[in-house]
Subunit: 503 residues, 2 copies
């Protein structure tokens, strides 16, 4: 999938009405850009609006007309633009239920809208779908200090939850760059990953329960505050990662770890990929239970980042850099473990040089060298970016392979990502995206990944942009069962049409 | 649900043919004991056997007649006995596929058989279902030291996997008392819990991929070696915990942690339940990332266990005991954390007394005080046992409540379990199980649990014995969706009929 980014991609999200009008002129409609044909859904009539007004009594719960709904019709990355003229903002699961019951009866398509931080166009309507925004369902129901369980509504902002938990000595099991705008319901719907995944696992493990409203308005109460509940099929997982196509997540119960009290970050220079792997093995062994993140950055990715940040590298130039984080509960113990690890990898010659810190400001500086790489790569006129899971033996092979194919045609081919989770981000950037480059890049990346039985979308999901690439990571039989699930649970196909799976 | 156990429950599993005949005379058939009506399935004909013989070329892959199949027709706990006269032992997924394709076409019911260590009668036929045993599919495909991923066939014994992993410095993310006979496919099918769950999470988190054959013989390749794969619906979770009713798990990929190198076990005496909770909070805080297990044992449970083991308690009598385990990567660090914790809880007066050890033989001795409680309670003429998830605020309330109801009619009411996972085992034992006791116990436990929105089967599952209790932990809407899943994926209902969900 091509993710074309132009120079203005990192503009602030909120704009004036005039800017929005300009913006709408700038961005091609998704239906045209991606050649999508409208499904055979009904169109919204005045009688529907009157019905919705009965369900949602407060006038601020309904927005009408493209001027009012413009913000809900395009994404941050300018990949998609839709034409949804009706935005509904329920406050309760009962209201979500009543809305969907009506839409299903009338065969009105619905686009489910969370924090709009996705990168695959999953939360934006394509045609005139009704936008169902969860933003007003943002209540925290309970935080249990004994069991570590948080229960809340789906529209809660991740960063707000993190803040409330910190008051009680707990953290969320996931952390994302978009935490100040993404919503926990959207996190679940997209099975969001992030930089704590290596330590705390993914959402299928930490989500204890959820409530979802299915296409016909049925409220499915699958809430649970328990890690163990073997009573029947484990249905909640159908909703985690299905991007709103099987139901609308309305409430969440999630297991939250105690806050760590210590943090160390190491930034290491490594001569070759073989030594990267050996360093990874050593850090798993010697840092053991305090290891939280292990990231890989190649020299071109770092170069791009420090140019953008206008900073210099903390260590001299190496082909590879690794950023390793530990968190724990005893500063002395952690420091000793970190020092032992460093002495080992330096004396064995598998790490060339490195710095380590536990000072919060310096920790932040080091993390910026990883987090701002996308800002650097996106500062080119175009940047194609891929989010792949690949086996560690062949993890980095795709970067030199891509350099051989298009290195002479572009300014940058680089790789970086979560080596601890086998997840690499491949970026190809330059001045002008020509058909020649597109043809050399696009099928190749997916075929390369598919041959290694990797994932063509490790954490970003499928959304509107990637359904046609599903086949590279899933068999026909699996896609067939997905279709069966969709048909069983949403026979009219009203929930997030055109997304995830082509019907 | 009543789990009636007589004195002979802990006899060894393997018996002579004569013993088996006696045994069959002893145990009532499940169909009579639980008043089950046979489904409208076909019966096995000679032509079916001939067909199976073509699929399974080796004569040892087919057992015929009740004498040969007796061992596959009853469980260890004597809850269930069936009449399956055909046992099939495929060696490949293709053979599983061919068998199911034929059975589905012919409407022959199938009972999926793993290690037969379940406690809810899920793996034993009820009538004449064909027994599909995975025991010959026990190959280990790969163990990747870099990523920590094990790939193997579903019939691998858990203990064998643990052994093979230990050679490479890794462990399985789950540990069970039955590890020397249970199979990894059965572990997944029942979403097995065990004593490492608090540290490493449940199987929905650690299973990376699986292969399953559905009722019509479709081989669903959902294998993945990656923690991150957001390409479409996360179908593998449908098979984890559905007890073989939606498909037969044939292959597994699972994330395995590095072996810890240190272990400490504490055994503490605590005066009241409030102090138990405070101790739990302290151990989460002070033991942090090295905490692996936190178990609760009440004084009656311990008493019962030490009588059975013919041993004395390591500390004087208290109303509650806690067994806490840590595992880590640095012995000195762990010892310091453990000492800090102990000093804190003793000086604050929330723990009365305690012992701690890191010597393997003493670690084993202390763990026996927890692990042998069931053997002690089952040494009574009858023992009713319940496996509940309950909120920690009310975690222990059910024990005194039950004492008030039946204390005068029985010898023992006790509670113990995984407080770290909010999972309590309630036991009621005595000389004679009267209808009066049954009536005082049975609806009460489920209603009590349901009112607190707990789980009526935390880790044991539903199997044959508990479908009618599903309603206490799941709503009508959820059960309705389970039925839809079953109907969609197994329209003839051939897979494990009578189990999990009544159709």
């Amino acid at each position: 999938m091509l993710q074309l980014l132009n120079k203005k991609v990192l503009q602030p999200f909120h704009k004036t009405a005039k800017q929005i009008r300009n913006f709408r002129n700038e961005i091609q409609l998704s239906k045209d850009r991606y050649h999508i044909k409208r499904g055979s859904f009904a169109t919204v009539a005045d009688s529907d609006i009157n019905h919705f007004a009965k369900i949602l009594p407060n006038p601020n719960q309904i927005l009408l007309g493209l001027d009012e709904t413009a913000g809900y019709n395009r994404d941050y990355f300018k990949y998609v633009r839709g034409l949804g003229e009706v935005v509904l903002k329920p406050r309760t699961s009962a209201q979500v239920s009543a809305i969907l019951q009506h839409c299903n009866h009338r065969k009105l398509a619905v686009s489910v809208y969370g924090g709009n931080t996705g990168v695959c166009g999953g939360s934006i309507p394509v045609f005139d779908e009704i936008v169902l925004s969860l933003e007003l369902m943002n209540g925290i129901e309970s935080i249990d200090e004994y069991s570590g369980v948080l229960q809340c509504e789906a529209g809660c902002i991740l960063g707000v939850l993190e803040e409330k938990l910190s008051e009680k000595g707990m953290i969320m099991p996931l952390d994302l760059g978009s935490k100040h705008s993404c919503q926990i319901g959207g996190n679940l719907a997209t099975n969001a990953g992030g930089i704590r995944l290596m330590r705390y696992g993914n959402l299928h493990g930490s989500v204890l329960g959820l409530e979802a409203v299915t296409a016909d308005g049925t409220v499915l109460d699958l809430m649970s505050r328990f890690r163990k509940d073997n009573t029947g099929y484990h249905l909640k997982h159908l909703f985690i990662g299905s991007e709103g196509t099987l139901g609308v997540i309305t409430r969440v119960a999630i297991a939250c770890p105690p806050s760590p009290t210590t943090q160390n970050v190491l930034f290491l220079g490594v001569e070759n990929y073989d030594s990267v792997l050996r360093t990874f093995i050593e850090c798993k062994k010697r840092l053991g239970e305090i290891l939280t993140s292990c990231e890989l950055i190649d020299e071109d990715a770092l170069q791009c980042c420090i140019l953008h940040l206008k900073r210099s590298s903390p260590i001299k130039q190496y082909p590879f850099y690794m950023l390793i984080e530990t968190t724990g509960s005893n500063a002395d113990h952690d420091e000793q473990k970190v020092q032992n690890f460093l002495e080992q990898v330096l004396s064995a010659g598998i790490v060339g040089d490195g710095v380590v810190t536990n000072e919060p400001s310096k920790v932040k500086d080091l993390w910026q060298l990883r987090e701002y790489i996308p800002h650097g790569t996106f500062s080119n006129n175009f940047c194609l970016t891929y989010d792949l899971s690949l086996p560690l033996d062949n993890f980095y092979d795709i970067v030199p392979a891509m350099k051989r194919r298009v290195g002479h045609l572009v300014k940058l081919v680089c790789g970086f990502g979560h080596i601890g989770d086998s997840n690499i981000h491949l970026n190809i950037a330059g001045d002008e995206l020509t058909p020649e480059i597109e043809q050399l890049v696009d099928p190749f990346v997916y075929e390369f990944t598919s041959k290694l039985k990797g994932s063509v979308s490790a954490e970003h999901g499928i959304g509107l942009l990637k359904p046609k690439y599903l086949k590279y990571s899933k068999t026909n039989e699996a896609i067939g069962l997905m279709r069966q699930m969709k048909t069983t649970m949403d026979p009219n196909g009203i929930l997030n049409p055109y997304k995830v799976i082509s019907m």
